[in-house]
């Protein structure tokens, strides 16, 4: 894993400014799609921290996406919090839940952890519909939210403001993520992924790190979910089925496991490929989607970022010769 080298910062800033400029280029619905891509990117970064960098599988991150979305919705609807405060609150809630879930779940490895997390994903819609929680969750009907207006009377439509706001949150989350992954904690996480026994022998407190990683990963995905709730203006149990968890996993692998930039490619994939598949075949769109998935894995088992890196390495080697 290589976090962006310090020489790359000017390019990153340029990229962020270019994306920000899109606020005035894209129209209404496209802005919404752009915002959703950013939400998914944050969510995928969260999943990547767990799966790519710490080597733990999760088939249930859709549950944390849902949790973040509902936490934000409840904070705004019942707690009266403004939208910009509800996002960090959602993140915090997911951090706690993620850590608590991680603590017992960490005893399970590989497939068993996959099942446990999948159980979480399957249970979430059912829990959200549960009669006794209806007062808070709105039951089957969910909660309706209002899109915020641009602050300080800025000349931006709500869609435009939300896109910029999402971009700011994305940048902040990615900075946090980058710092985390290049720190000592990040190295400890990767050490656990690569050789848990050796890591423990070197004094890494594996159980604590694994639970903490789970919590942080959940927090990131929860923030993505919270943002998405505001963008969609609506949360309901059936928006967060197990297909979301599967999509997130697919996204993180297609983008590139163990890479930071993979989150963006994965988010683009999740957002646009299903409708692309539908445009190719009205009758069996998911069959096309499946073929696309398999083709991509054949062509680039390391995801998009993996492919870009191997190509770059090959060019570099050719240039050296």
């Amino acid at each position: 894993m290589r976090p962006p080298a310090h020489r790359a910062w000017p390019w990153v800033v340029l990229l962020v400014l270019l994306v920000a400029a899109l606020t005035w280029v894209l129209q209404g619905y496209q802005l919404f799609q752009g915002t959703m891509v950013l939400c998914y990117a944050i969510a995928l970064l969260g999943l990547n921290i767990l799966t790519g960098y710490n080597g733990q599988i999760s088939l249930g991150h859709g549950a944390f996406f849902a949790l973040g979305a509902y936490a934000a919705a409840i904070a705004m609807e019942h707690g009266g919090l403004p939208y910009w405060a509800s996002v960090p609150v959602a993140g915090l809630a997911c951090l706690v839940v993620g850590y608590l879930f991680g603590r017992p779940a960490l005893k399970l490895e590989g497939l068993y952890l996959a099942l446990a997390t999948f159980a979480l994903a399957v249970a979430m819609p059912q829990l959200l519909k549960y009669k006794h929680l209806e007062a808070w969750t709105g039951g089957v009907g969910g909660i309706v939210l209002m899109k915020p207006d641009a602050p300080f009377g800025l000349p931006l439509s709500p869609d435009q403001w939300l896109f910029l706001y999402a971009l700011v949150v994305t940048v902040v989350m990615f900075l946090i993520g980058h710092n985390l992954l290049s720190s000592g904690s990040g190295r400890a996480m990767r050490a656990i992924r690569d050789h848990a026994m050796a890591a423990e022998a070197m004094g890494v407190d594996s159980p604590h790190y694994k639970s903490m990683t789970f919590g942080i990963s959940a927090a990131f995905t929860g923030v993505g979910g919270a943002l998405s709730a505001i963008a969609v203006q609506f949360v309901s149990p059936d928006s967060f089925t197990m297909f979301l968890s599967i999509s997130l996993l697919v996204g993180v692998v297609v983008g590139g496991l163990g890479t930071v930039w993979g989150a963006f490619f994965g988010a683009l994939f999740i957002m646009f490929v299903p409708s692309f598949a539908e445009s190719l075949s009205k009758a069996a769109p998911w069959a096309v989607y499946g073929v696309v998935l398999i083709a991509i894995m054949f062509a680039m088992p390391g995801g998009v970022v993996g492919l870009l890196r191997t190509t770059a390495d090959r060019w570099k080697r050719r240039a050296d010769q």
Binding site: T51, I57, P104, A105, K107, L108, E109, L111, Y112, L115, A116, F118, A119, V122, A123, Q126, L127, K129, Y130, M197, I246, L249, V250, V252, V253, V254, L257, A283, A284, P285, W286, A287, Y289, G290, V291, V292, L293, I294, M297, F298, P301, G302, G303
Partner: protein, 290 residues
């Protein structure tokens, strides 16, 4: 009391289906150390093939036999053409390929055979001597079939040289080649067997829940849970796990939480068991000297 017994036995009947699919999952897992997430959809597709043959006039057992053989061949072909090329790829990339297969089979089934629910015949006549008030003839038959398959498979894997070779190829492909085992052929054999077992499971469940593309989606999850609770490396464990999950699901649904939450609660209980016994009830913890 009679009601309880009835629910228990009904749970065993569905458990038999879960056990069969769990068996298929363990088959492929033992051979390749991968979980075939597309197993349910492949089984469903096989059942549709059988249905088509029966509609075309084939007698039940003829259609059954052809379907089983066809499923064996197609599964082996999938291993060769789709899974084998990925053998050097990271695990999660292979998982995504499985997801791709799942989605393709599901969508193709809908496209080719439609989404309307279809009845599927049972080979066990409703008035047979072994049926009764507590369990229908089909339920008894399905359980017997499941148990029969696992016995055959167990004997094959543990008592024959070919079965031993399959297990060896799964554990250590390099050393297997050194003793003359063609690892590729073992993989195809494992997949073929799983495909055949899945087809049988599909044909056993279709008469009960009726045939449609969504038939096996829930079953796969229960089968997966059953395989894990029994021990993913153990065919007997998988079958035991499948029965346990079937009974658990039914009893929970009837007496404790009702149908909406029974899936979540069942899974929570399973995870609780796994936390206490991480390799499953019958799973072998493989000791490695560091």
């Amino acid at each position: 009391m009679n009601e309880f017994l009835h629910q228990l036995l009904a749970g065993l009947a569905t458990g038999g289906i879960y056990a069969s699919v769990a068996l298929a999952l363990v088959m492929i897992y033992q051979a390749t150390h991968h979980i075939n997430f597309a197993q349910g959809e492949m089984a469903m597709f096989s059942t549709f093939i059988a249905w088509t043959l029966i509609q075309a006039g084939f007698p039940y057992w003829g259609a059954f036999a052809i379907t089983v053989v066809l499923s064996f061949v197609v599964a082996a072909a999938i291993e060769f053409a789709v899974i084998r090329p990925m053998h050097n790829a990271p695990v999660l990339s292979v998982v995504v390929v499985f997801i791709g297969l799942l989605v393709i089979f599901h969508s193709l089934a809908g496209f080719l055979f439609g989404y309307t629910i279809k009845p599927f015949p049972s080979p066990f006549p409703a008035d047979a001597w072994y049926g009764g008030s507590l369990m229908s003839a089909h339920e008894v038959g399905a359980i017997v079939v499941a148990l029969g398959m696992v016995s055959l498979l167990f004997m094959f894997l543990r008592l024959t040289p070919l079965g031993l070779a399959m297990r060896a190829a799964a554990q250590n492909a390099a050393s297997s080649r050194l003793v003359g085992i063609n690892v590729g052929r073992m993989l195809m054999l494992g997949w073929g067997l799983a495909g055949a077992i899945g087809a049988v499971a599909g044909m056993m469940v279709a008469p009960v829940v009726f045939l449609d593309p969504n038939m096996m989606t829930g079953v796969l999850l229960y089968a997966f849970a059953g395989a894990l609770i029994g021990g993913i490396d153990n065919p007997i464990g998988a079958v035991l796990g499948g029965f346990i999950v079937g009974v658990l699901e039914n009893l929970l649904g009837t007496y404790v939480v009702g149908t909406e939450l029974k899936l979540s609660v069942a899974l929570v209980l399973i995870i609780a068991v796994l936390i206490v016994k991480p390799s499953g009830l019958l799973g072998k913890t493989i000791v490695t000297r560091v």
